[in-house]
Each structure stands twice: as C-alpha cells, then as structure tokens.
Amino acid sequence: MSGSQYQGGTFYNGTWGADVDGNRVHNSQVNLGDTVGNSWQITGLQLETGSVATDFEHKTYASELTACQRYYQQLVGGSDQFTFPGKGQGSTTIDGTFPLAVPLRASPTMNAISSRFFSDDGFTSSSAAPTANQFIAGNCHLGLQIGSYSGGVAFANNHAGVWCPLNSTLKIDAEL
C-alpha cells in the first residue's frame, strides 16, 4: 500500500512515477494469474517436514547440482566432438559406455537421439533411443545399448569404435 495513509496510491510497474506521497511506495500487487505461462521465482526459503524449523541451510551451487544429478543428467551433443567407447553387438546394435557425473538413483530412461558409430570402416547412423543395459548402483559409468544402425559400416560383434550423440541432447532420467 502507499499514499500518505498507506491506504491507496498508484502502482507504477517498471516505470518512474511522480514524486508525490501517493507514489512513493508501490503496492506490490501483481496478478500472477493474469497471463498463461507466468512464473513466480522465490529464493531463500527452506521447506521441511515435521513441526520443528531448523536453521536455514546455505548450500553451494556445486552441492545442489550434484544432488540433482543423482536423478537427472544430460549431455548436449557437440556435433561429432563428444565420442565414447563402443563396440558392435550383433549386426545393427552397439554396446556403448557413458561416463556419469555422479551415480544415478536407478537405471535411467533415455530419449531418442541422432547418434553415430565410428569405426575404421567409416560411420553409421541411428535415430533410436539408447537403453541402459548395464546399470550398477554406485557406479559412475553406464552401459548402453543403441540399436538400428542399419547401414554404412559392415560392423559386427567386437567391432570396436566410438559413438557420439551428434547434435542431440541425451537426457538421462532417473527421477522418482
């Protein structure tokens, strides 16, 4: 509220108003629901279970990020720059590995991506979703199976190479 009796006044949203009592303190009333997609950002709050409030915990960005990565990680592809070891498994699939920032909560879901497998014979492409076929709790490496590499390279079992997610964003989702 604003004005000489703090009972009225004019709210200037993002602009300067005249230097009069009525405008010196804006009323800070914003209708959060007036537009679809509005957001409300808050900070400095701590929600706790139970009836006893504890001291506010000041956590670093790094510790918060690490805690979140137990549930979700992603790799933004960088063309063919980010490559990871892999080998042929059958005639159209590969076994690949992926290094995790921290161990995941559970075996993760992954989204469909454009990927390539490179070997001495060249490369072949896939648009399939990788699947986690070797998840070991507490392990910072994930074993993947990526399928549907259908052409370009006559690879087979034990045909070594590297795979990459091209420009895709590989989402690794172990959320609850």
Binding site: P108, T109, A112, T131, N158
Partner: protein, 67 residues
Amino acid sequence: MNITSAKYNSRDTYADDGSTVVSTANVAVTAEVDGEVLGIPMDPNNRHYAEILRQVEAGDLTIADAD
C-alpha cells in the same frame, strides 16, 4: 503419463566365437511417452517402467514383441 506404444528391445548373447547366438532376452522397452520416444530399462525402480507395468496389469497397454 500418456503411453501410446511400447515394444520390447532384445539382446543376443554370443558364444565365445563371437558369432553364435546362444540366447536372446528382452532387456528394455522402447515406448512413446507423452509424445516422446524413450528407451526404458526393465527396472521396477524406473518410474516409466513402473508405469508400464501398472498399465499392462490394468489391461490398458500391451508391450509388443521385439523385432
């Protein structure tokens, strides 16, 4: 969670010669979930697989055989 399709992914196990298939087993499910194609491990602790199992149990979803 809107799951519109689901299909098993299989994996062959090979003999020491590296070419003879000794067994084939389903190891994952590829499903379209909320409009996105996902690779889902067969781990009940995975939320997507848990939901697939729930919908299969309810008769609302069938997982197609692997190729």
